[in-house]
Amino acid sequence: MKNLLILGGGTAGSIAANKLRRRLPTDRWAVTVVDSDDDHRYQPGFLFVPFGTYRPDQVTRSRRRYLSGDVDLVYARIERVVPDEHVVELSDGRRLPYDALIIASGVTPRPDQTPGLLGEEWGRTIHEFYTYDGSVALARALSTWPGGRLVTSVVEMPIKCPVAPLEFAFLADSHFQERGIRDRVELTYVTPLPGAFTKPIAAKAFGSTLSDKGIDVEPDFMLMEVDPERRVLVSYDEREVPYDLLVVVPVNMGADFVAASGLGNELNLVPVDKQTLQSKAHPDVFALGDANDIPTSKAGSVAHFAIDVFVENFVEYATGRPMTHAFDGHANCFIETGHGKAMLIDFNYDTEPLPGRFPVAGLGPMSLLKQTRLNHLGKLAFEWIYWNVLLPGRPLPLPADMSLAGKRTDLLTTARS
């Protein structure tokens, strides 16, 4: 009997476990997932909790319930992988041997990496919404906030769901309008990027949405520290941005056990081949979801598309054949823009997000890089799809490879010239 061990039972770990369990013979492969608790969080919901549109109890479900019955789930903290011995060490002293290892431990926000964030003001005038606790605390703070300068700040790229901070700023604008205090609120978006997003065409579209909504942008801002007493952000090139309420997206880093095992880069991300997701250092180790270093967005949709391709490869790998499938970096993300509308982007390693139409079988086309009501409904439907289609590993009517159909590819040449 061989052991497939999956470290982390979040989005990627659960999808991979459920899909592979169906494809690997049960008399030859055991599939085991390790996670520290039974709380599977729907992280996209963290965006809506601060504004009261999602209740906190709505974002958590049982991890066990979303794993197929013949997948083993071990509750423990992972301490270390010993690649040369093909063993994983847990905090309770157990040592689990593996024949193949999947690292799916994601990334977490690390406010400890920026001086001035963690302290007396953390949870008071300084907040974040990338964790369950953070989004709940921010909901409390926002509901009674009288107005002033609200600054949304991205500390460093890459972060998971790189559009989430933009969405936060857009939703804040409509939230304060609905409360009738928008005129008492100054909104500022602070980013280390030269513009609103990483890729030029989307950056332009998001940039004009920000300015339409009266949200100021402070680009190229490499945050050095926060001075919680003077309430200012200070950049390495000595610029300052003042705030009354700071909503920060801290540095996102992979799990500490990845670093302790010598498997990570400077952000504890596992360097992998971007097409097969196989570790560059150890052929029996793979990294799925946010935990790897592939050059595309860290998002649930990416984990889903990547695992479609990965599963085919792993079945080949498990029977000693060469892996013949290649992931193209496909990402698909909705961007809430407030007032019941959203935008949509669809891209991969080679093609940046473009405007145009996005065909969905059985639903008709959605609009890319444009604010529509249908996109907003898509974003809300994603929650149902997440629990009922993505996690169980059922087929989604979307191909894993990105398609150019409907996209304004003519813009590619003009954008570059």
Partner: protein
């Protein structure tokens, strides 16, 4: 691919003037590129550029500021003084490496 003359050598560059062939670079070229963006190279500048080139050769990617500080042991604040405003981009330009990939 456009070509350009730098310090008496013909080298290939991309649309933004970043050199595209690792081996076409030498320190004379680096000094000329630095001068073109108003930077006078000191030993401290060269230490940073040399680390960047060797890390690129080992990893196949232009190192980020975080990597220069955690792996290269360089002080980020100091890099902002040596290569004002956009250190990662300016260093890549001088070192003859691809522009740091805008993260995704």
């Amino acid at each position: 691919m456009p070509m350009t003359m730098i310090a008496g050598h013909e080298v290939s560059v991309d649309d933004e003037g970043f050199m595209t062939r690792y081996d076409e670079w030498d320190e004379t070229t680096g000094a000329a590129l630095a001068a073109a963006i108003g930077i006078e190279m000191t030993d401290e500048h060269w230490d940073a550029i040399r680390f960047m080139r060797s890390d690129y050769q080992a990893q196949g990617a232009t190192p980020t500021i975080r990597r220069l500080s955690t792996v290269g042991g360089m002080d980020t604040k100091r890099l902002f003084t040596l290569f004002p405003k956009k250190p990662a981009k300016k260093m890549a330009y001088i070192a003859g490496l691809p522009k740091p990939a805008g993260c995704v």
